[in-house]
Amino acid sequence: MSGQELHPLSKYIRKGAQPHTHCSGCGNGIIAQSFLRAVDAVGIPKEKLVCVAGIGCSGWIPSPFFDVDTLHVTHGRPIAFATGVKLGNPNLEVVVFTGDGDASAIGGNHLIHAARRNIGVKVICVNNMIYGMTGGEVAPTTPRGVKTTTTPFGNLERPFDLSRLVVAAGGTYVARWTTYHIAALVAAMKKALTRKGFAFLEVVSHCPVHYGRRIGISDPVQMMRWFQKQSVTIEKARGMSEQELADKFVVGEFVDIDVPDLNQMYEQLFEAAKRESD
């Protein structure tokens, strides 16, 4: 193939799975590339990586494009399925791709319990603040007042702060970045992939088609500029009032602690059971 250079990450792309299905200007491409860079840098062998996809645009990041074992499951349940995969084979690196609706509306129960039990599953939650795939309905993460197809007079409800929710539920690695903060995003993904316990990485992503359009920023580059302008680090946010933070994206690492993960707890249980029966 003279004159044609392959992308260094192309080995992770399943043959015949293209063209992709994301809209022009979607943040999913940035997230896909950031993730594969992290996988490559950490050196996870392809046969050890399992991607579990939920329902929604985010699920289509790994499914079917990544050339690894991929389990594309029912709406809201990827973390539950991933828990079974990780308990079934602890040697696998199990990564969930889920959206804000998938993870915190229909699947909210699984999210908090996975964090609580510290199962060594890594969750990449693409938060575009709306249901993008189905045409732009309000999500649990949609800010108050935003008009969507199901809130034509503006959203009456308060949005979830997903990262803080997972911290409260016991997450041992929790970080939030946006699709603007690519270097930080890759670094956080690398970190998440090297942690043993439950890791939650919230990626605030731009959906120009179904979210940006509704808030008057239908251009993807403008949306990323908006992320840049509205983001404040956790450190800086500490000195700001709730009012000042109302329309900001607080980014950074919320927690990074070492707590025995569930597989390690099972190992201890197996050892104890063995001693007892010996």
Binding site: R14, G16, A17, K46, E47, K48, V50, V52, S63, P64, D67, V68, D69, T70, L71, H72, V73, T74, R77, A80, F81, A82, T83, G84, V85, K86, L87, G88, N89, N91, L92, N109, H110, H113, Y266, L269, F270, A272, A273, K274, E276, S277
Partner: protein, 338 residues
Amino acid sequence: MSQLLPRTRGVYIQMEDEIAAIGSVIGASWTGLKAMTATSGPGFSLMQENIGYAVMTETPCVIVDVQRAGPSTGIVSAPMQGDVIQARHGSHGEYEIIALAPSSAQEMFDMTVRAFNLAEQYRTPVIVLADETVAHMREEVVIPEESSLTITNRRVPSSRDEASKAFLSASVAPMPVFGRGFAAHVTGSSHDEYGMRKASAPEAIDRIVRTINAKIAPHTREISTTEKTMLEDADTVLVAYGSCARSAEYVVKQARQKGLRVGLLRLMGIWPFPHEDVKEALKSARHVIVLENNLGQLFPEIERVAPESAETVFVPPEIIGTLHRPAYVLGQITREVS
């Protein structure tokens, strides 16, 4: 199980809800393990979507449903066979399922082993459709030596080449379990014969629906077995399954003592419904009496294959949610026969 599994490095986990329970079972199955979950009534309702996912993705797994009196929370500790149709058609879409009906504590053990074997053989979820009486009764159970058990294991491809073959052309394709370099793509969405999503081609879903039905239906006789008691000369045949079959067994003995020619056809597997077997067993019956602890969920299937010349009636217990009282059933038989 929570006590026994850790000794063999088996994982027992109590998930946050039944949706997660069946989800994690399916996930574990894809790592190559045998996995099961158990529930009753409401939990079985919650599991239905993911049971459909297991059917669609051809994931072997076992679900024990102990039927309670319902709908809804109903009565936890009363027997009813209200989930018979749900076991067959509980998830949306067109599919075939396997459901076994134990009627003793021994069969709770035997049929759970068999359920795993069938799940592995046909790459499909298998339901052990028990009922409250069977699950709560205490009676002798003989746990056989492991070496005397028949154990079936799923076929796994020998290479990625084999794994990437068109699997929908095989009756039961080998399962590309995770962690072995197969790069399996597993999806509950409509997919082509290579596993790639084909969400808008009717030809793709047509192929899947036909495949997942055709791998089970032709094997109905081997899957859904029956037990025939005193049928040779019987002019009256009781048809029953689960705990009802225990009452029926007793009724047959009593009826024989009275000189009535009564036999029992016990269904050990109810889905796929053993049409041919039941038809054969009933062919010389003059009276067919179907005992179920519901308002007749399996009755239409039985009525369909009963001989036209026979009188086919449905007899629920006097009070649904209790067992069939033998004297009551005997009275019904006497009334029918006379």
